[in-house]
């Protein structure tokens, strides 16, 4: 995205058809057309054309956007809404028309220094590991406190010596600092499927945090990742968080293709987990917005979901936003809660024991977990990353039938 000022031309391919209204979470929430992509584009283009002065309501409706990008999927005229929105949000923050919450500003500064961020969250990792319920967003898990994913991957590479395709893995900032157990599971699943995993040491935050908040610094992070990933000789670059994957994909294109790890595994027909005959588990699969609307993936491949060994089905409205929207559930908690209330209601009646809500983005996982913690869903359910449902555990070996180079 260029940093040039928006010109009215930029908005010109919105023909005002209105197809985005039906899929927009904030339009559905408020019924106010200004609070829809078509409305926002109109506000921004009128302001850019000098027909509308700066207005607190323009600021309000801009800040209301979740950034789910469902409108991009619905748009017949392929308006690059996400790109425009990102630019406008940055402009609004830079010109003090919008101020992200203090916690987000601090976090945005912290993620640019991964060592510090990892250290700062060490107590949180330890407490999560010990089973403390720290916050409505923090789903349970047992992250390694000290060993990094990079060190772990190197250890497993030595032990198992996979011979298949080589992938570089973006470990992420919050994923690494807080939800490291998902990264570990990702490494195990890839290596079990005979994939060689490389974790470039010089990688940084994907920049999604800055994109979501509109804060400065995204270009430096992108440059860091272009250096870390740009010249690697690998078959693919994979991410296990669809938001990070979307951000890194934008950074490295054209040239390098960034894949969601589940989509990548779909091409390999992953090793299938065996479950007991009488296992009554039912997995409801929710598709992260930045996977289907950002990365434009069709979904999570059926063979990958089958390989979990569980009975699964797509959650109702699986392609609709859960309200997490990167940092939206922190910036606009009331809206996020209402969006989640509608989306999660089915879980109260959903068949299966136990019930798992499976998805592929840690931010969505946090949001879904809060449905239980805030009483929207009253029956017990677990939130898991789909990669965790494919996890062979510590003791595994590479099957002899795995894909060869």
């Amino acid at each position: 995205m260029s940093t040039e000022a928006m010109t009215p031309d930029y908005f010109s391919n919105c023909t005002h058809c209105g197809f985005c209204l039906a899929v927009c979470p904030t339009y559905k929430l408020t019924g106010d057309e200004n609070n829809s992509p078509r409305g926002r584009l109109r506000l921004w283009s009128e302001e850019a054309a000098g027909r509308l002065p700066q207005d607190k309501w323009t600021d309000f409706y801009t800040a209301e956007c979740v950034g789910c990008l469902a409108c991009e999927t619905a748009c017949p005229a392929t308006v690059p809404y996400g790109e425009i929105f990102e630019h406008i949000r940055h402009e609004h923050v830079a010109s003090h028309r919008f101020k992200p919450k203090l916690a987000l500003r601090l976090a945005a500064a912290a993620v640019t220094r991964p060592m510090l961020f990892n250290l700062a969250l060490l107590p949180a990792r330890l407490l999560r590991k010990a089973g403390f319920k720290l916050h409505r967003f923090l789903f349970p898990g047992r992250p390694a406190a000290l060993k990094s994913t990079a060190a772990y991957a190197e250890e497993l590479m030595q032990r198992h010596r996979p011979t298949g395709p080589r992938v570089a893995f973006l470990t992420g900032c919050l994923m690494e600092a807080m939800f490291r157990e998902i990264n570990f599971a990702t490494v195990r699943v890839l290596i079990e499927n005979n994939v060689q995993v490389i974790i470039p040491e010089s990688q940084g935050c994907c920049g999604a945090f800055q994109e979501h908040t509109g804060l400065d610094g995204v270009e430096a992070l992108r440059e860091q990742n272009r250096r870390a990933f740009g010249s690697l000789d690998v078959d693919a670059i994979v991410c296990n968080s669809s938001g990070c994957g979307y951000a890194l994909g934008k950074t490295l294109q054209p040239g390098k293709q960034v894949r969601d790890v589940l989509g990548y595994l779909g091409d390999l027909s992953p090793v299938r987990r065996q479950r007991g005959r009488d296992d009554g588990t039912r997995v409801y699969v929710d598709l992260p917005c930045h996977l289907v609307h950002g990365q434009k993936a069709a979904g999570i491949p059926a063979n990958v979901l089958d390989a979990t060994g569980y009975r699964w089905e797509l959650a109702p409205k699986a392609k609709d936003c859960c309200g997490s929207g990167g940092v939206y559930n922190i910036q606009k908690p009331e809206n996020a809660h209402t969006i989640l209330a509608d989306k999660s209601a089915f879980l109260n009646e959903a068949k299966g024991a136990p019930v798992i809500l499976g998805t592929s983005n840690h931010v969505c996982m946090m949001q879904w977990h809060s449905a239980g913690a805030t009483g929207l869903v009253t029956r017990p359910f677990e939130v898991r990353h789909i990669i965790q449902l494919l996890d062979p555990g510590e003791n595994f070996s590479i099957p002899s039938t795995s894909p060869q180079p």
């Binding site: 209105g18 039906a22 017949p76």
Partner: protein, 469 residues
């Protein structure tokens, strides 16, 4: 700077809508300046979003005293300027009135509020094995209120008919605050002596505010077959259309894409292998399985005999979607090609198809305007799309001139103005081409009877329908 008049309006509106929303800031009105014709912008003085039907009724009771025009709006997807405040005033956005109140599978009807989305209704009906046939392309977002107001059609209305064939009853509130039910679940056989609901359908917001409808449903067809055929020229395409219309298989839909539409699809990411320079026909037959299956070969044979050596057909959902792909993608692709476009909406006798299409090409080429034809061929409902850039001085005027010439010819060949989009303010200038002064006077007396000052959606349908406070 807020004028005293405006602040008084805001004050009155807030009193009328204690629970709903009242928008009056410049940046809150900007989103309501246009409908699907994005380049025509008329800002209202205020927008209200009633919280529910009760509040809408309350608003209507007080609306007359506001002394400003009242313009109803559903999702604002229309292509005729209908839900836009051309003479200023208050836009009433019915986005919160989206309750499906009853689905009655014994009587094959449903009761819905005016803001229910068309495809939302479809999704709700499906588990019951019933459907509501009108299917305008804006289905994912358009509302039933807008559908009834413009008497919407769609691809399948060749056999199934348009909205008016499915409205059993309309509940409407007049500006005097009186609430009326024209018809109901029992259709026209209500307390009103004549079929008054028919006045409401296609009235484009000029008579009253709709609150709810009773709609007729049909059982979902057991079986659907979709056919796609391409033709080398207009003559063979026309032969196929004529043969289809007369055929005993009674197709549900006959859709057409002209070579310029085909070229547009084929040069996009939606390309599906249509031969260059060809006309594409999309045909669908449906009904009881045994009956429809027995007709498949005869339809395929008919399409071949008319001159196509490229006939594909399927009854499998995934393949059917593939056959529909070019037709469904075409509308959106227009938006990728140019910043603005006008979709005309004329109905012509089928025998005049080739002649009118040629006129479209000649006029557009002479003016250096791109024209693409995507339309409902079965019922002669033409949709020539003129692609232009509204920011280039003179382009809109050129398109308007072509449109006018097209309409003149349409009327000369015995056609009429609007198949399904409504007149709005986009086609009101052409009304005198179709109707003489006596006829215009008679028609104008209808909205005058319902709201004598023309406070409801003024300057729509009739160019001279001004609201005078």
């Amino acid at each position: 700077m807020t004028s005293p008049v405006k602040s008084s309006l805001e004050h009155q509106l807030k009193a009328l809508l204690p629970r709903g929303r009242v928008l009056t800031s410049a940046a809150q009105l900007a989103g309501y300046g246009a409908d699907g014709l994005g380049y025509k912008n008329h800002l209202p003085d205020a927008v209200v979003i009633p919280a529910d039907a009760e509040e809408l009724a309350g608003f209507m009771r007080g609306a007359k005293a506001l002394g400003v025009p009242v313009v109803m709006r559903g999702a604002g997807t229309s292509l005729s300027g209908g839900p836009v405040a051309v003479q200023g005033g208050v836009v009433v956005h019915t986005s919160a009135l989206k309750k499906i109140r009853e689905i009655n599978t014994e009587g094959f009807w449903c009761e819905v509020e005016c803001g229910v989305g068309l495809n939302d209704l479809d999704a709700a009906l499906k588990p019951y094995g019933v459907f509501y046939p009108p299917d305008p392309s804006s289905g994912p977002v358009c509302t039933l209120g807008g559908n009834v107001a413009s008497n919407a059609g769609g691809a399948h209305c060749f056999r199934y008919g348009v909205t008016s064939n499915y409205v059993l009853g309309v509940e409407a509130i007049m500006l005097d605050g009186s609430l009326h039910r024209f018809g109901g679940p029992a259709g026209g056989r209500g307390p009103w002596r004549e079929d008054w609901k028919r006045f409401m359908i296609g009235s484009e917001g000029t008579l009253a505010a709709f609150t709810r409808f009773w709609l007729r449903l049909l059982p979902l067809p057991e079986k659907v077959w979709t056919f796609r055929a391409t033709y080398p020229d207009m003559k063979t395409t026309e032969a196929a259309i004529h043969a289809l219309v007369a055929h005993s298989s009674y197709p549900a839909a006959i859709e057409m894409l002209d070579p310029r539409g085909v070229a547009m699809v084929e040069s996009s990411q939606m390309a599906c292998g249509l031969p260059e320079g060809s006309f594409m026909l999309l045909v669908e037959i449906d009904g009881p399985e045994a009956l429809v299956n027995a007709r498949v070969q005869s339809v395929a044979e008919l399409l071949r005999q008319a001159g196509s050596n490229d006939v594909m057909f399927s009854d499998e959902e995934a393949l059917r979607q593939k056959l529909w792909k070019a037709r469904k993608a075409s509308g959106g692709l227009l938006g990728q090609l140019s910043p603005s476009y006008v979709v005309q909406d004329a109905v012509i006798p089928k025998r005049a198809l080739a002649e009118v299409l040629q006129l479209v090409y000649d006029e557009a080429d002479a003016a250096n305007i791109r024209a693409v034809n995507i339309f409902h061929a079965g019922d002669g409902n033409l949709h020539p799309n003129f692609l232009f850039d509204s920011r280039v001085p003179g382009e809109l005027e050129k398109v308007e001139l072509i449109s006018k010439r097209l309409m003149q010819r349409v009327i000369e060949v015995g056609g009429t103005l609007s198949g399904e989009h409504g007149i709005g303010n986009d086609k009101s200038a052409y009304m005198p081409l179709v109707f003489g002064p006596d006829s215009m006077r008679l028609q104008l007396s209808v909205p005058a009877a319902f709201n004598p000052a023309h406070q409801m959606n003024p300057l729509k349908v009739f160019d001279n329908r001004h609201f005078v406070a």
